[in-house]
């Protein structure tokens, strides 16, 4: 009997989850510098939680946001203030902070009811700048431009000290986030989002309350970002406004685009791809190249990053997930492939 998710092959999911939790042990056995890799994977995990939420907003509801770094910043600072200065337990902050950030999502969602397309993207960008300035202005709580040190998290009496513990904490939440977004997409809510993306007028004519669902989309997306912010603050132990730059917002969009916009797995793949490429493959490649030509390394890294992005968008606009789908169809039909389909 075919189940609820007949279009997907679900039998691999438990193995994938198992693999995620076995990965640190494999890394520890395989390399000496496993702590560095874990740190990068943790970053990727935090970003995955955010980009999955961003995909709900930009990929599924069709509302472009260039201000998600601001949501991440609000989450990080709120949690830091709640835990360190108000003395709340970390578990409570995990619940309260996403709601607060979700409310900020509503704040930016209200103008979004009237503003569309590119205008919305740039309005959210302006929101990002304003939030950044606000954080610096409220230096009494946030430490201003000097940044803020954040304590380690402790969950259910178990204190989380290093990247090893963080990995399990973060990836548990990553899996929860992915499952949650999948459920949202398959529900009435998700179908309403997609209807709005495909045609606002048609959705409205079919009885979808545009204002309500757009605001819900902003709220949910803000909550995911807030969640990522909490984890970010307590795993990196130091937050400053420099980190939550407009470039980070743009990178988030790049991540979901590289993965394939409008698919949850695409967002996950894209985020992993971008973070790993930026932190691991480019430096490796660079070391070799730097011996041949003597160039400032930071610039070369940005150059290679931009080049790969550009080539990727030109030659693979459907993203990594689209590539995977194409490959799957190719093997299913293997000897009888119509040529036209794969050009």
């Amino acid at each position: 009997m075919k189940g609820r998710y007949e279009d997907e092959n679900l039998k691999w999911i438990p193995f994938l989850i198992l693999a995620v939790f076995l990965l640190p042990f494999i890394l520890k056995g395989a390399t000496f510098s496993y702590k560095y890799y874990l740190y990068i994977l943790n970053m990727a995990g935090i970003y995955i939680i955010l980009t999955v939420g961003l995909d709900l907003l930009s990929g599924f509801t069709g509302l472009m946001s260039l201000g998600h770094a601001a949501f991440l910043a609000i989450g990080a600072y709120t949690s830091a203030i709640l835990v360190d200065q108000a003395g709340l337990p970390f578990e409570l902050s995990l619940i309260i902070t996403p709601v607060i950030v979700g409310l900020f999502g509503l704040v930016i969602g209200f103008p979004a009811l009237r503003i569309e397309g590119m205008y919305l993207g740039l309005t959210t960008m302006g929101f990002g700048f304003i939030i950044k300035r606000l954080i610096i202005a409220l230096s009494e709580w946030t430490g201003g431009s000097a940044g803020l040190h954040v304590s380690s998290a402790s969950i259910l009496g178990y204190s989380i000290k290093n990247d090893w513990d963080n990995y399990f904490l973060i990836y548990t939440f990553v899996i929860i986030a992915i499952i949650m977004t999948r459920r949202i997409i398959k529900s009435k809510l998700g179908r309403a989002f997609m209807a709005i993306r495909d045609s606002e007028r048609a959705a409205e004519a079919s009885g979808i309350n545009l204002a309500k669902y757009k605001l819900i989309s902003f709220f949910i997306s803000g909550m995911f970002a807030g969640f990522a912010g909490v984890l970010f603050a307590h795993t990196s132990h130091f937050i400053s406004t420099d980190h939550f730059d407009i470039l980070l917002s743009i990178f988030f969009i790049v991540m979901i685009l590289v993965g394939g916009i409008g698919s949850i797995y695409g967002a996950v793949l894209g985020t992993l791809f971008v973070v790993l490429m930026e932190n691991m493959f480019i430096p490796l490649f660079e070391d070799g190249l730097a011996q041949v030509i003597h160039i400032e390394s930071g610039e070369l890294q940005a150059f290679i990053f931009g080049l790969i992005m550009l080539l990727f968008i030109i030659f693979q606009p459907q993203g990594l997930y689209g590539m995977w789908l194409k490959m799957r169809i190719y093997w299913k039909l293997f000897p009888f492939n119509p040529k036209k389909r794969f050009t």
């Binding site: 304003i130 004519a205 968008i313």
Partner: protein, 309 residues
């Protein structure tokens, strides 16, 4: 009181000059948006490349001529514009052509990656040291009624208005301009009507590159140092373009001037008289922008598009 007034007037004038720079960058956005509905995030970078190229030509020619005369600057400007034409054609081939049938979103991302590439490439070639650009007009100023205007600012304002008028005329009166308008409306229908859509696109990118390079040439001497951070002005020109309504040429210049004046005044005189403005002067343009968009979602001069299901 008259002190405040003179101060405000003085700052308005330099605000208009700054606003005209914003307007020129916004014009670059507008041109591309008008024909292809793509928002070119690399416009600020094109401007920066233009400034660097012009600097290169100026140093080369002045070394050849042995002195720094007006002809050197003119020749450098001429060569920079030729470079801009080539640059525009290359950008069209690299960015626009391969992505013609893709969603607009992908092309925007392509321009963002282009921005990253251009910025890092410029930094690699030019090196980490900031350059000191030379103004063709020196430090000469004009003084009228207690207000001092530098000749450079005046040149910027005049240039912006001339370019704006040229493009306004071009889009409304010439065959090619109307072809561009038609292409932006519906590229397939335009193609069926016999409009060479590919050439139209190439032309638009060339125009945008020329405007970008000219704005870079004009802006560089206005800044004390020339380095890659100049490209971030491109981000600041977005509110100008949106305020005027993306795709409206008079809107771009008026939006640019409004924001230029707001920014200069809030940084200058007003911040001495009202303490709280100092806190928000770097984001004031965005606050104005969001306020305007709440009331008029298509900008001041934008035309709301009729949407079909």
């Amino acid at each position: 009181m008259s002190d405040l007034l003179t101060g405000l007037l003085q700052e308005s004038v330099s605000g208009i000059a700054l606003g005209c720079i914003y307007a020129l960058i916004a014009l670059g956005f507008t041109l591309i948006y008008k024909a292809t509905e793509v928002v070119n995030f690399a416009q600020g970078e094109i401007m920066m490349v233009g400034a660097y190229i012009n600097f290169f030509f100026v140093t080369q020619f002045s070394a050849m001529a042995g002195e720094l005369t007006g002809w050197v600057f003119l020749a450098a400007l001429f060569c920079s514009i030729i470079f801009a034409v080539l640059f525009g054609i290359i950008l069209d081939y690299v960015i626009n052509r391969p992505l013609k049938d893709e969603p607009v979103f992908s092309i925007i991302m392509a321009t963002i990656s282009l921005a990253i590439i251009l910025r890092s490439l410029t930094a690699m070639i030019a090196g980490p040291i900031s350059l000191i650009p030379v103004s063709p007009f020196g430090d000469s100023t004009i003084k009228t009624a207690g207000i001092v205007i530098s000749v450079l600012d005046l040149a910027i304002i005049i240039c912006a208005f001339i370019l704006m008028a040229l493009f306004f005329f071009f889009f409304n009166k010439t065959r090619w301009g109307i072809a561009m308008k038609a292409t932006s409306e519906d590229s397939e229908a335009a193609q069926l009507m016999g409009i060479p859509v590919k050439q139209v696109y190439r032309m638009v990118w060339v125009f945008a590159a020329i405007v970008g390079v000219i704005s870079g040439v004009l802006l560089a001497p206005r800044m004390a140092l020339l380095d890659t951070s100049m490209s971030f002005l491109g981000l600041k020109a977005f509110p100008a373009a949106i305020l005027g309504g993306f795709g409206s040429i008079p809107g771009a210049i008026i939006g640019g001037i409004i924001l230029g004046i707001i920014e200069t005044i809030s940084m200058g005189t007003l911040s001495f008289h009202f303490e709280w403005i100092k806190e928000i002067n770097d984001i004031i343009v965005w606050i104005v922008l969001i306020a305007v968009l709440m009331i008029r979602p298509d900008g001041l001069f934008g035309i709301a598009k009729v949407k079909r299901v």
